[in-house]
């Protein structure tokens, strides 16, 4: 039995080394997120020494820093992180479930549904605040159920769901364009939020519903991480491994849509974050364990870094969605070409 025990050893070693790499990557991503968060607080239009930033954070009143850091930068950074985490989690869940990196909520219409509802609520119904969020979440879920229901024929096929989502998305986007073109004294910056996504004018109060959503939905998703992983082997294989495929699909749809819609109601559909986080995380982590946590962190990093670029590193001030959208394009095409070359996953 020597060959058996040597096989056993090499398998265990292999598994350990991959788990090790995964831990290193997650730690690195976490560190980068914290570093970007700190950078956003410390260095904006003006420099605020880290000591002063810390004093603002623990609630002291620092002349010249309390407003810039406490009122402007902190809410913006917090909202960026939370929205990024939500987009990253929601995106990778859909991609894993449908086994297709292109089938993320921003491509299959869920983001546009939430966004269209938010625009409609603000421009036509003159609502604001939490009501807009509720409207957007309801619409996001509505679109998801609509798309899911329409794709139902002897069970849901990922392919059909994706294509129907694209159709619905096209309809919703033309509705957004129409409402925005009609709005009389519509502020262009505000319009940008609903077209490409932006964290301008963030307030700390907005973070609470998002944080609550992230805790509930994110927790539920994480507890199902292993079943979600099994789905990557195909529905039949996952069922053969004892996964209740129909139930896990429903759980994923509800939680991921909740996350995406809550974030979209506040920041608009920040282009490509949901779409890019999963594939980037997969490249970093490799094929070891669930992608949920690394992908959430990548999402946060994308939004923080994109917003910082858009504000300070480009000749003109851009909302974060324009930066992530433009930066995402080349990567996206690379990804489409690569996915298709290996076939199978569609």
């Amino acid at each position: 039995m020597t060959s058996f025990s040597s096989a056993l050893c090499s398998i265990a070693d292999d598994r350990r080394s991959r788990a090790h790499r995964r831990n290193i990557v997650i730690t690195g991503l976490l560190a980068l997120t914290i570093a970007l968060f700190a950078l956003t607080l410390i260095l904006g239009q003006s420099y605020v020494p880290p000591g002063d930033v810390f004093r603002v954070l623990i609630g002291e009143d620092v002349p010249g820093a309390s407003f810039a850091v406490g009122e402007l930068r902190l809410p913006r950074a917090v909202l960026s992180v939370l929205a990024g985490l939500s987009f990253g989690l929601g995106g990778v869940s859909f991609q894993t479930m449908l086994r297709n990196p292109l089938a993320s909520p921003d491509i299959i219409g869920i983001s546009s549904g939430a966004s269209a509802a938010a625009v409609f609520a603000i421009v036509v119904l003159s609502l604001s605040g939490l009501l807009v969020s509720i409207f957007a979440v309801a619409a996001g879920l509505g679109v998801a159920i609509f798309v899911y229901g329409l794709s139902f024929r002897n069970g849901v096929a990922g392919t059909r769901l994706t294509l129907i989502g694209i159709g619905v998305s096209a309809m919703l986007e033309s509705m957004i364009a129409y409402v925005l073109a009609r709005a009389p004294a519509w502020n262009l910056q505000e319009a940008m939020r609903w077209l490409v996504g932006s964290v301008n004018g963030a307030e700390i109060g907005q973070a609470l519903p998002l944080l609550a959503g992230l805790t509930i939905f994110g927790g539920l998703l994480l507890s199902r991480a292993r079943d979600l992983e099994a789905l990557r082997l195909g529905d039949d294989m996952a069922a053969a491994l004892g996964v209740d495929v129909a139930r896990i699909r429903i759980i994923v749809v509800v939680t991921a849509v909740g996350l995406i819609a809550l974030a979209t109601a506040l920041t608009g559909p920040i282009a490509f974050v949901a779409f890019l986080s999963g594939p980037i995380a997969a490249r970093l982590v490799g094929n070891q364990g669930s992608l949920l946590i690394p992908s959430a962190l990548v999402g946060a990093i994308l939004v923080l870094a994109g917003d910082y670029c858009g504000q300070f590193l480009l000749p003109s001030r851009y909302p974060v969605g324009v930066v992530t959208g433009a930066l995402g394009a080349p990567y996206l095409l690379y990804l489409v070409a690569r996915t298709n070359r290996t076939g199978g996953s569609a």
Partner: protein, 347 residues
């Protein structure tokens, strides 16, 4: 699902409907288009009489009613031509890619044309309609080539799913680039935003004259490649076996399709779904022979866009709903219906 439906995209021409129904549908369709033209002249924010319409067509613009009708003539013609171009372009694209979901809107070609025009306006101070048209055609061509290349990598070639995803993804990317270009330019943002919705309002005879050569060239090239598309419908290998030069045939037909949708986008803005819906309807009416399908698609496309424009004028009176919105609302459910009808394996 019947086998006939399944094979309708690859079936050889003689599987089409018997010739008898074509000779019924042709006069019916022409009659419908004439009726729609008349309605388009009659209906608008101002009510006019029949005599206003007749005398305006005769060239009189004396009364307010006659003047209103005179304004509607170029608009009607533009809707007719733009719809014909889009319908034809969609039919050619579906033929070239052998893909039931191909459409200039879905494949992101319209967004590509829009991006090119926006860059031309914002960075190069482009103003003339000629420049708009050339730029839009260039943008449309590059995007079509890009999407098709990306979508046809790998196993199974350009399947509907891959092409559609590549198109949708490209659309999103280009849309954010459009915004990136427009945002720092408050002076042009308003104009571009209303152009992007897609409409035929504000048409003049001058603009019609400027776009006419492009549309005619596209029309002639498309109709000329009908026979080639019939061979391509059998698959590349078989088409080559029948003596068709596959790459050349595909290149000419694609160029025609790009010419048509690029020129239309330059004048009207991106109008989606006409190119998707029309060929499907026409296939039901006259079968899959491209020698019938292509002319019919342009006829029905013109009629559809006219109808959409009229609906847009009625639905939101006294203001107007752009025809691009109407077609999206009619076309998207149609798209979904086609997707549901297909078997997953064929996607």
């Amino acid at each position: 699902m019947t086998p006939a439906k399944l094979t309708s995209f690859i079936a050889p021409p003689y599987c089409g409907r018997p010739g008898g129904s074509r000779s019924i549908w042709l006069p019916l369709t022409i009659f419908a288009v004439v009726v729609l033209c008349t309605l388009s002249l009659l209906i608008g924010s101002r009510d006019v009489t029949w005599s206003d319409v007749l005398s305006a067509i005769g060239g009189h613009v004396d009364s307010i009613g006659e003047a209103a009708v005179a304004m509607r003539i170029p608009r009607t013609l533009l809707a007719l031509f733009a719809g014909a171009a889009l319908g034809l372009s969609g039919a050619v694209m579906q033929g070239v890619t052998r893909n039931p979901l191909a459409d200039p809107g879905i494949l992101g070609v319209n967004t590509g044309a829009a991006l090119a025009v926006v860059i031309g306006v914002a960075w190069f101070g482009m103003t003339s309609a000629q420049a708009y048209i050339w730029t839009a055609i260039l943008g449309a061509g590059c995007t079509a080539a890009l999407v098709y290349t990306v979508g046809s990598f790998g196993r199974g070639g350009a399947t509907p799913l891959k092409l559609t995803l590549a198109g949708a993804a490209t659309s999103i990317a280009f849309a954010s680039l459009v915004i990136a270009v427009v945002l720092p330019r408050g002076d042009i943002a308003g104009g571009i935003r209303s152009w992007q919705v897609g409409g035929v309002g504000g048409a003049t005879f001058e603009r019609l004259a400027e776009v006419a050569p492009f549309l005619s060239a596209g029309l002639i090239l498309s109709l000329g490649s009908a026979r080639k598309l019939n061979s391509l419908a059998l698959g590349d290998d078989l088409a080559a076996g029948l003596g068709e030069r596959v790459a050349l045939a595909r290149g000419i037909a694609s160029f025609a399709a790009v010419l048509l949708c690029g020129a239309t986008t330059a004048i009207c803005g991106p109008i989606g779904f006409v190119g998707l819906v029309v060929p499907h309807v026409c296939r039901l009416l006259v079968g899959v022979d491209h020698r019938w399908l292509l002319p019919f698609s342009s006829l029905v496309g013109g009629g559809l866009l006219l109808a959409g424009d009229i609906i847009g004028r009625i639905a939101a009176r006294p203001s107007e709903l752009e025809v691009g919105i109407v077609t999206a609302f009619v076309g998207a459910p149609f798209f979904i219906w086609i997707v549901r009808r297909q078997r997953v394996r064929d996607l």
